[in-house]
Every structure is written in structure tokens, then in C-alpha cells.
């Protein structure tokens, strides 16, 4: 009565898809794709997460309120990652401002 009853058939399909994606991500790790290895691994992880969140955790059948809370969690995570990386990864882009001593340039990332 309360909540949507997801069929066992769909659960089983999601389960098989998750196992297949696990096998895929493991296999791809042994192929040299350069920097794309990381991208592909994370992409597969995000797909797997989406399947779990949407079907096993029933967000696909949830109310708008719950969807907003779910998205808020990931949105704040995105803020943390983006702003931190925006600082750390762009430090080498510009030279030191005039008057900054060598102590600062030598303490740049190792």
C-alpha cells in the first residue's frame, strides 16, 4: 500500500547489470587508455551508482521532496570537489605576483 512495489524481475535485471559493469570496469583497467582509464572507471561507477539509487533505493518512484534531498547531497559534494580542485589544480597557471619571495614558489606542489 505505501510505496511502489518494484518487481523481482526488475531487481534481478539491475543485479545482473551491476555485475556486468563490475566485470567491465575490471577488464578495462588492464587496457592502456592513458588518462581515459580514470574517466571510464569513474563513468562506470557513476552508472552503477545511478542504478542502485534509482531502483534499489527507489528514488525513481520517490516524491519530489526526497529527490531534492538526494540531489542536494550530491550537489554539496560537487561544491566541495569543484572549489577545492579549482584552487589546487590551477596554482601553477600564473606566476607569483610581484614581490612574492622564492619561499612561495619553492613550496609549490612537489
Amino acid at each position: 500500500m505505501t510505496g511502489h512495489v518494484v518487481s523481482m524481475r526488475l531487481y534481478l535485471m539491475i543485479f545482473i547489470a551491476l555485475l556486468a559493469l563490475t566485470a567491465l570496469t575490471t577488464a578495462v583497467a588492464y587496457v592502456d587508455l592513458g588518462e581515459m582509464n580514470t574517466v571510464v572507471a569513474l563513468l562506470i561507477a557513476v552508472i552503477k551508482m545511478s542504478l542502485v539509487v534509482l531502483f534499489f533505493m527507489h528514488v525513481k518512484y520517490s516524491s519530489g521532496l526526497i529527490r531534492v534531498v538526494v540531489l542536494a547531497g550530491f550537489f554539496w559534494l560537487a561544491i566541495m570537489l569543484t572549489f577545492t580542485l579549482a584552487d589546487e589544480l590551477t596554482r601553477g597557471w600564473t606566476g607569483n605576483p610581484h614581490g612574492w619571495g622564492p619561499a612561495i614558489s619553492s613550496s609549490q606542489k612537489p
Binding site: M1, T38, F56, V69, G73
Partner: protein
């Protein structure tokens, strides 16, 4: 507050005075008195769990952010450290956890359709798979201990020396490895505790089609812990240049 609640109750009334309908008619003891209907109670439980999970996302998120930053600083050390992990154990554990998520989802299905025996069976299977995960994790930890790969406690710089990796960077990778998988394992142990309580309540027949929220939100927690591992597995085990 009271006025608002009163008004809401009147909107669902069916002729009876809102007060009488709210307290007695047509529902079992599982519907708490501050809720109008089972649907609303279920929604409130689910919302509360998701708010908690949002804090958990950021709790683990701090570690994931730190991992990303230090990985970009010390890439050779992190790749060398990653290749010291056992991919087979990691992949097996991923499959085990996905299996446990499947049995957990089946447990919710069983509760929703009022199948008590199936519910108990699914919860037991979920707990067994959770224990298998922790068992495999334990053998990995034991292996790292044996190989002097535990920073601060049992570490040998000579045994983990890589000519391209800066001094201490492999050690740093293993710090992240133990903190991230350790925190995840703590969540698994808490999850097993929750499942034990759910198993006892299910055995006593507390859940049925009308009332299964505790099973549902315990399941949300269990799936969340699974999702953390879905990210830990590629980040720690896979993207360290396995093809080399």
C-alpha cells in the same frame, strides 16, 4: 503548529470529526499519532534517512576530495601503491556487496508483499554476504600486514620502494587506503547490527504490507554503503595503471 495539523487532518476526513478519526479508526498501532496516514509516516521516515545519507555523502566526500588532491600531487606513488592491492579480492568483494544489495532489495519486496519467511531469508542472506565481504577484507588486511604495508604500525620502506615514487608517497596511498576502506568496514559492521535488529523484528512478525518502513530505510543505509564501495573499488584498486 496545532492549527496547521488540525487543518490537514480535516482535509482527509470522511465525515467523522477529525479528532476521532485521527486517534482510532482504521489503522493499527504502527501508525504513530502525530501522522495522519501510513503514507505520510513512511514518507517522513524515508526523508529523514535521506537527510542522514546526505551528511554521510559529505562525510565520505571529505576523504574522496583529499584522495583526489593527493593523488594529483603524488601520482606515481599512488599508482605504485594501487598495484600492490589485490584486484581479484577487490572485484570479488564488489560482486559480494552487489549481491547483498540485491538480497536487501528483495527483503524490501518481501516485506511489501507480506512474505515473512522470504523476508527473514533475505535478511539472513544479506548478513551472510556482509560477513563474507568483511572476511575477504580481513584477509587483505592480513596480507598487507604480512607484507609490511601498514603505515605507522608495520611499515618497511625497503619492501615498498619504487624508484619513480617520491619518498613516502606509497605510504601516503596506504594511509588513504586504510582510512577509506576502514571507515567503510565500520559502516558495514554498523549495517550488520541494524540487520540483526531487523531480523529479530521480522522474525516476530512486526512487518507487513501496511508497515515496512524500518526495512526500507535500513535498506537505504545498506545500499548507501554499497555505493561507497562502488567508488572505492575503481579509485583504489583499478586506476593505478594495471596494464603496466
Amino acid at each position: 503548529m496545532r492549527k496547521g495539523a488540525r487543518r490537514m487532518s480535516e482535509t482527509v476526513s470522511s465525515g467523522l470529526p477529525a479528532h476521532a478519526e485521527r486517534h482510532h479508526v482504521g489503522h493499527g498501532p504502527e501508525l504513530r499519532h502525530h501522522f495522519e496516514e501510513a503514507e505520510q509516516q513512511h514518507e517522513a521516515s524515508t526523508l529523514g534517512m535521506w537527510v542522514f545519507l546526505a551528511t554521510e555523502i559529505l562525510f565520505f566526500g571529505g576523504l574522496f576530495t583529499a584522495y583526489t588532491i593527493y593523488r594529483s600531487f603524488y601520482l606515481p606513488g599512488f599508482e605504485a601503491g594501487s598495484r600492490l592491492l589485490d584486484v581479484k579480492a577487490g572485484a570479488a568483494n564488489t560482486a559480494v556487496l552487489i549481491g547483498s544489495s540485491f538480497t536487501m532489495a528483495s527483503a524490501v519486496h518481501a516485506a511489501q508483499t507480506g512474505k515473512r519467511k522470504l523476508l527473514v531469508t533475505c535478511l539472513i542472506l544479506t548478513m551472510i554476504l556482509g560477513c563474507v565481504f568483511l572476511g575477504i577484507k580481513y584477509t587483505e588486511y592480513a596480507e598487507h600486514w604480512h607484507e609490511f604495508q601498514v603505515p605507522g604500525l608495520h611499515w618497511d620502506s625497503a619492501a615498498t620502494f619504487f624508484k619513480n615514487a617520491p619518498n613516502g608517497s606509497v605510504e601516503l596511498f596506504f594511509c588513504f587506503y586504510f582510512f577509506m576502506t576502514g571507515l567503510h568496514a565500520v559502516h558495514m559492521i554498523i549495517g550488520l547490527g541494524i540487520m540483526t535488529v531487523m531480523l529479530i523484528l521480522s522474525w516476530r512478525g512486526r512487518f507487513a504490507e501496511k508497515y515496512f518502513s524500518p526495512i526500507e530505510i535500513s535498506g537505504l543505509y545498506w545500499h548507501f554503503v554499497d555505493i561507497i564501495w562502488i567508488f572505492l573499488f575503481p579509485l583504489l584498486y583499478l586506476i593505478g595503471g594495471r596494464y603496466q
